[in-house]
Amino acid sequence: MSRNTWKFHGGIHPPQNKQQSVSASIRQLPLPDKLILPLQQHIGAPGKVLVSVGDRVLKGQLLAQAKGFVSANLHAPSSGTVIDISDQPVQHPSGLPGKCIVIETDGKEQWCEIHPIDDYRQMDATQLLATINNAGIVGMGGAGFPSHVKIGTQQTISTLILNAVECEPYITSDDLLMRERAAEIIEGLQILAFILNPKEILVGIEDNKPEAIAAMRRAAQESTEANPGAPCAVTIVSVPTIYPSGGEKQIIQILTGKEVPSGGLPSDLGIVCHNTGTVHAIRNAVIEGKPLISRITTMTGNLVTDPGNIEVLLGTPVSHLLQHTRTSANQIHRLIMGGPMMGFSMRSTEIPIVKTSNCIIAADDQEFPDAPPEQPCIRCGACAEVCPAKLLPQQLFFYSKSKEIDKAKHYNLMDCIECGACSFVCPSQIPLVQYFRFGKGEVRKSKIETDKSDRARMRFEAHQERLEKEAAAKEEKRQQRAAANALKKEKQAKAKLEKEAAEAANPSTAASTAQESSNEPSNNDADEALETLKSNATKASKRYQQAKKALQMAEKNGADNIDKLREKILQLETKASDAKKALKEALPSPAKKIPAKSDATPNNTPKETDTSAVIAAATARVKVKKAQNALMAAEASDASQEVLEHLSTNLNTARTELEQHAPSEPTTGEAQ
């Protein structure tokens, strides 16, 4: 069962400190009196509140509904009364309070109506997706990205990865979850596999968790034996212990050797990666019908008398946890939510547990002493050696510090995953990550500004284009008038010719009229093509506008797939401009056709054959070339089938025309 693994660049080995919290099994705490539920526990837009103060809510009842695509539902973790909807201290790096729903629990734990699914294999994928969406599940490893967005990807997925690495020191919540509920996790994986239909399922676990690996292997085997027809088997891969192997990008690299493109998503590689807690929550949502209302949180730190993992209701204030783990709160020097490498230090013990709180560390000043004062960077390169993103942190540090945003971006500041490995090793004790967060903020700021000016420029260009279009329309009309005039003149000429012909008793009159009528449809054809091109162009630009609007919306929502939308927009933009180009190229052709036609007629009168025929042939040739070029351009730019067909009919008509004229002039054949 050993599978090849790859290595990522750098990495560090911080002291593990996991043993403190793994000895006890997962336990529960008495119900807290008050649950504080921040509306924003995930990346994306906060939900819309559905309850009001004074409402009685049941356990599992929907409190806030997802707003927009990248957002998540929020449910009541226990039954009780809504006593407040207001700003409360929450865990956010900015330290600003966030809007919360506060529930006073009644201790009855009365469930609302839930809908377990007996056999998810009978459902279709969209239904399951909706179930997961409704359960308000977000990535529980730390980032809190709404899970249904990841699962609902349109790309074909070949690999499903369970990120059970848990590389951060101190945290053991996934470890314990795997030890005790391995079968449920495997079941969750099978549900995901049913939806995504991948070729393989990989579970990456660091080799410092042998019990978890064994439990998962056993569960995986049992599951294969129980359902021989399962879509694909689960492979448990033990990966070397090194921080930050649990980063999404890093675990993908370790297990598949592939790198997620910068600014892209794992799904671009056909990979979806989920955290252990998340998969477990998905399983609960589908099999038991229970929304995400609790999570496993590690309580640890040297001030905690009873460290361990606790299944805690969302919204439970940290003070409640401290109290029930017998922690001497007054000695706390630093209280950290998350791990020591990437976690945030909390300002208050009243901050509630949210969907992403995987660990609480209560430490005194022995365990996490204050960092010594920052010394100058000596460019020793220790940071670059450990950076998993293969950046040059010392350069990023200089440029972030001096606000040279362009240079920082050139050194790929935006690819920094803020893992903190560089700060960890820096001998000069420089809080590098802090500088990078600042730098990223600056980049985003400047981006917003350029976007603003870009939009202004686009508006201006659109305006300019409208003006051009109007001018073009006028020009067209003018040419049509001219053509009509020419037609009239030609008719007069014809009448004259006819008279002459009649006088000369020449029999070619009939032929000439026939010729003319055969010319007409080709002209119509061209007009039609023009029409289609025009509508194509407008369609394309309309689509482009829509996409742009979507982008703006998404930006507002802080969606993560902005980059993809933006790419799409770029494509649409090129398409639109291509279509417009094709339109422009096609525009002059009717104007040319008309004189050609007027030339063509006299061609049949034997007296003027020579010169007029040459001209006619030449014009026709030009037309052929034009049409050919347009066709080629369209082909190259991937224009739609319709456009291509029209252009090729155009070309053919032009070719026939040429053939009609060319034989009448013997030299043309050679010249071609």
Partner: protein
Amino acid sequence: MAFISVTSPHSHRANSTAGVMQQLLLATLPGVLALFWFFGWGILVQITLSVITAVLCEAGILYLRKKPIAFYLKDYSAVVTAVLLALAIPPIAPWWIVVIGTSFAMVFAKHLYGGLGSNPFNPAMVGYAFLLISFPLQMTTWLPSEGNFGASTGVENTLQLIFSSSPADDASNYDAFSGATPLDELKTQLDLDQSTDILQQQDVFKGFIAGAGWDWVNVAFLIGGCFLIWRKIISWHIPVGFLAGLGILAAAFSLYQPAQYASPLFHWFGGGCMLGAFFIATDPVSAATSDKGRFIYGFLIGLLIYIIRTFGGYPDAVAFAVLLLNLAAPTIDYYTQPRSYGHDKPNRGTAKKDS
């Protein structure tokens, strides 16, 4: 209850800039001992003088710059600069040489550019180059090597040489005691149309490779350098590039005309080669940043050293080569960015708008 808020990470590896510098000092010990064995007490006197001067200068400048003096002195960087400079200075050079050189290094090369971490040039080498240009005579006069911890010259005699107040006496003193370094001698002899055969004949060259004593000094520095690499204080890229650059050119020339050009071994173990490769060129502040860049940086230093040693006006060239490449380090950095995760290829050159 409120706590102060600090950003992640919350734990740190227990290493410090001072620790790095201390290990560096430790690594110079073998070299210092070797110099002591072959050239006597002078080297210890020079180091003492240099360190005292450097610390005083640093303190003075920090005071002028209104910075916390004790905090910055504790990073040991001044001591490192002083020791490296002292190691490069002839053991019997008059006292004011090392004092002037060290003060120049600390004040002009280090603090005028903004102190530790901001100096584009290696301070020790700026000091050395300054001295070499200003006092060529005193800076190229070495004692002949002895090999008994300076017993034959004696402590008093050495002190007298160094502190003899009258520069006028120097000339005679030098005549009595001094000798040129093997590199110097070789250059002179080759200029006199001698062939490299003299390597076997003259006294100065009576070492196992590159002249009396010098080869052992270089071996000692090599040992210290390996210690640094083992302790991960420096990466192998610069020294290896350095020695490769020097060795390749030397090998090419000595294969082409062995009578005219000394062998790579002579170049590797002659002069300040190992000191330069492991202690001087690896000064991270003024070197290139990425691994690839560091290798190129070291390699170019090696090439330049050979070129200056063989065709230039000075017998040894570590200082000039290092300073020239210090100047080129930012450019090397621009073109050797590593390929970051998720990028198809590394970025090159300087940042463009909208890149």
